[in-house]
């Protein structure tokens, strides 16, 4: 199957190249046939890449070790279901995955592009296909998953044990899809600019695909954190690792984008700014993908191949400089349709929101590259890790939570001071009361108090909005409260979807504040039968079972959890040792409740049967994981198409062209 895979990969590359050149040439030479042909080529690239993907999957399942990639990432002992993760375990496969995802997204995006963008579509296609061409060229020439070995090995090297856990089935695909997904709104924006459409034509498509890539990235980041928490065994979930940062920054950019694009949709303002923002987000996304290919900073994540790194860096440079030049070229045409009525308005709040998000991105970028700068300028090796980010990004994030509570309460155009004061009173009361109650109960850490207070502030504001809206609708329409509430949501989907997503952000905040400030850690070595007291839990270590399974030895430790003498649960936690990789992968035992997590993981297995345990009590972290599904629900509501009824039906081309009376169907 290697041959089929390679052939289809090259066919896809040819199609993408033709599509890029044909779109531009067809547009410049005003040849609709060429433009359509280039578009068809784009549609054909998808199936070609699906054939390539399928070939690789078949190669894995049939353990075709003649293919170097299959030999490097699987072995005879590997269960078939791990083919899913083995696919993107290495550079070659993940590049193929990215290309396939991009081709499918491009096809859907162009197919469903709104009518008013028709003139801009060839350029949008060109941008999408240029990106695809790049990825396919790199894949086919430098990192071909279908390269063969000169001989057929008897067995493969096996899959990296860290990848065989559940989180890995979703975290990399979501993250990579999110990163490459940013190309779509970027392509719409650039296409619009290139074709001279400097108004708001691209806003609807930009918003939809912006939100879509936003949720993919957010899911990828949350899933990665969840995986790190349950698998990596040190009880944390985010490490400010350079590669994590590289995925975090484009997410911040695209978050800013989905907010400020609302201003352009509503008021025709921020036209220039949105172009800058999507260009920056795209640049950061390319940087994110660059960091994954062997960036200059060592990390648990990097796939390591420095040659690819240089090529990506070059493409990133082009991907930043050229859009910037296009922006400068079209700058005179990018004028806002309206002016700002007041500095106290939702438009202004969105701009502040953007600045905060970009400030956090800047700090993250700074922290990631400063070690390099320090090494180059004053020849000093410096590390920047969690303490730095906690102190600098922490306050910024709290400011952002505050804005998240205030923003939705400020009306468009101009906020009256009196009505603003009335709107803010309940949330401020809620926040202050929370702080007061917590302080009285003995909680004195300032940042934690602020964090909880702000969470209450935002939640009160959102619930108050829901209550008021429902009540008002109930009064005027006579519907009961439940119906009124649902109808209210359905009548204002972007807004209420946004509220739900904001609630999920509050949940993440709760999880971060609880764990950062109040988690308790104990490292202890226990012999069988010994127990240890952590907080109000008593943990009795019963013993370890050793199980030899093919490529690894599993050490399963059984621990009894008691509280106040009463047995709560008997849990098992395990540490798998893989001799061929000289690596151990742990699976923590987590007793999770909304109040706190009891987290136990073995760090070493001693010959006499004792086990070194790390025990953590992490308050409130459950909320962070629950935030994921809530965020998804909010996004679905926000993206659900809402047909605005207007006093004129959409004329169909048939009717316009022929003037026929439509039949009553």
């Amino acid at each position: 199957m290697a041959d089929l895979g390679a052939i289809s990969l090259w066919i896809a590359l040819a199609l993408a190249t033709y599509s890029t050149i044909g779109s531009v040439a067809g547009k410049l030479r005003m040849s609709p046939a060429l433009v359509d042909s280039a578009q068809s080529a784009m549609y054909a690239a998808g199936p070609a890449l699906l054939v390539a993907t399928l070939s690789l999957v078949v190669a894995f399942i049939s353990r075709d070790f003649e293919i170097a990639y299959v030999a490097a990432h699987s072995d005879l002992a590997m269960p078939n279901k791990f083919t899913w993760v083995a696919f993107y375990a290495g550079n070659e496969g993940s590049l193929l995955y990215i290309a396939t995802v991009l081709s499918i997204m491009s096809a859907i995006a162009i197919w469903r592009a709104p009518e008013k963008l028709k003139d801009a579509l060839p350029y949008t296609t060109a941008v999408l296909m240029l990106t695809l061409t790049f990825f396919l060229a790199v894949t086919a020439v430098m990192a071909n998953p279908f390269d063969k070995l000169p001989f057929v090995p008897i067995d493969g090297e096996g899959i990296n044990p860290l990848l065989t856990h559940f989180g890995m089935f979703f975290h990399p695909p979501a993250l990579m899809a999110g990163l490459i997904g940013i190309t779509v709104p970027f392509a719409f924006a650039t296409g619009a600019l290139l074709s001279g459409k400097t108004g708001d034509e691209w806003v609807d498509a930009g918003r939809v695909w912006g939100i879509f890539s936003w949720v993919l990235l957010a899911a990828g980041l949350l899933l990665g954190s969840w995986w790190a928490y349950t698998i990596l065994g040190w009880g944390g979930f985010w490490f400010w690792d350079p590669v994590e940062n590289a995925a975090f920054m484009p997410w911040l950019g695209i978050t800013a984008f989905v907010h400020s694009i609302m201003v352009q949709k509503r008021r025709g303002m921020f036209r220039m700014w949105n172009i800058v923002l999507i260009n920056v987000s795209f640049g950061l996304a390319l940087y994110g993908m660059f960091m994954n290919r062997g960036g200059s900073v060592p990390s648990v994540h990097s796939f390591g191949s420095s040659q690819l790194g240089w090529i990506f860096l070059m493409f990133m440079a082009i991907g930043v400089v050229v859009p910037f030049l296009i922006f400068i070229w079209r700058y005179p045409l990018l004028k806002s349709a309206q002016n700002l009525d007041s500095m106290l308005s939702r438009e202004a709040a969105f701009l502040v929101n953007n600045m905060l998000l970009l400030a956090i991105a800047f700090v993250t970028l700074w922290g990631t590259v400063y070690p390099l700068i320090s090494r180059l300028t004053n020849d000093e090796e410096i590390t920047i890790a969690r303490p730095f980010y906690d102190q600098v990004n922490g306050p910024l994030m709290l400011a952002l939570v505050f804005l998240m509570g205030v923003g939705p309460l400020i009306p468009w155009r101009k906020a009256g001071i009196a009505s603003l004061r009335k709107s803010l009173l309940p949330p401020i009361t809620g926040g202050l009361l929370t702080v007061g109650v917590l302080a009285t109960l003995g909680l004195h850490k300032e940042y934690a108090l602020i964090g909880f207070g702000l969470s209450a502030f935002v939640t009160t504001g959102i619930l108050m909005e829901w209550y008021r809206g429902t009540r008002s609708r109930h009064r005027s329409s006579g519907e009961n409260y439940a119906t009124a509430f649902l109808r209210l949501i359905m009548a204002n989907r972007p807004r209420y979807g946004g509220y739900i997503v904001h609630l999920s952000v509050v949940m993440v905040t709760l999880g971060i504040v609880g764990t950062s400030f109040f988690s308790v850690q104990k490292d202890v070595v226990l012999a069988p039968g010994e127990s240890v007291q952590v907080e109000d839990y008593e943990l009795v270590y019963l013993g370890t079972q050793e199980e030899f399974k093919g490529n690894r030895t599993e050490f399963i430790a059984t621990v009894q959890v008691l509280r106040d003498g009463e047995r709560l649960e008997t849990i098992r936690t395990k540490r798998d040792f893989y001799p061929s990789f000289n690596m151990a992968a742990t699976t923590a035992a987590i007793r999770s409740t909304p109040v706190e997590d009891l987290y136990i993981v073995p760090s070493e297995n001693l010959p006499d049967g004792s086990v070194g345990f790390r025990i953590l009590v992490n308050p409130l972290i459950w909320w962070m994981w629950v935030a994921g599904p809530v965020m998804l629900v909010g996004t679905v509501v926000a993206l659900w198409p809402q047909k605005i009824r207007v006093p004129a039906p959409v004329p169909s081309p048939r009717r316009i062209a022929t003037g026929l009376r439509p039949s009553a169907d």
Partner: protein, 212 residues
């Protein structure tokens, strides 16, 4: 709907009661959460394991790819943790312990740069950058509010030919809006339009009293 029926927010007893109830439920929620949280406030004995862990998190493991000695499970990392605890037990404070490791391994053993000397740049740059960004936002917003209106306002309603189209719009609004608003019905709006044409124009040049 008559204009006088406009929904203000009468801060009635019911509303306040509902507000109090909402606030109390919120605390119940947060209170339950903080029960777990407060356990962490129980003071630790002697040299404080949590203090040791805090110091662990500030020291990087020399051989691992970017992990602190708190996270890493390799031999050298465990030895270093032991050293931290021994020094704490002997009475050293945090800065002395950190200096000890810097002397042996160099400045990059610290998880964050010291706030002194050339490394102050690392801490100040973000602060300066953020301050600059906020200042920029303020200035941009201010300049945006000062400009003259770009779009001309809608044509003043001396334009009687617009009336039938307003009828169409009002009819549509009647049907699609679930909640009536002050000028919902077409009959009413028609007369409102005809009689008070000039007043409804939003042209700032014609209605200087509307400037805010």
């Amino acid at each position: 709907m008559r204009p006088s029926n406009v929904p203000h927010f009468p801060v009635t007893l019911t509303f306040r009661a509902a507000l109090l109830l909402a606030a109390l439920s919120l605390f119940a929620l947060i209170g339950v959460s903080t029960i777990g949280v407060l356990h962490a406030q129980i003071p630790e004995p002697a040299y404080s394991e949590s203090e040791a862990q805090g110091i662990d998190r500030m020291i990087m493991c020399p051989v691992c790819p970017a992990e602190t000695i708190d996270q890493a499970q390799v031999q050298i990392s465990m030895q270093m943790r032991q050293v931290v605890r021994e020094m704490l037990a002997a009475g050293s404070d945090r800065d002395e312990i950190l200096d000890f490791f810097v002397d042996r391994y160099g400045k990059d053993i610290l998880a964050a740069p010291p706030k002194s000397g050339a490394n102050l740049v690392a801490w100040l740059a973000p602060v300066v950058g953020v301050a600059a960004a906020l200042a920029a936002v303020f200035l941009i917003l201010r300049s945006m509010t000062r400009k003259e209106p770009i779009l001309g306002p809608p044509r003043p309603l001396q334009d009687a030919g617009l009336i039938p189209y307003l009828q169409l719009v009002d009819r549509h609004l009647d049907m699609t809006r679930s909640s009536p608003s002050p000028s919902g019905t077409s009959g009413q709006s028609e007369s409102t339009v005809e009689l008070s044409g000039p007043e409804i124009s939003t042209d700032p040049k014609e209605n200087p009293e509307e400037n805010v």
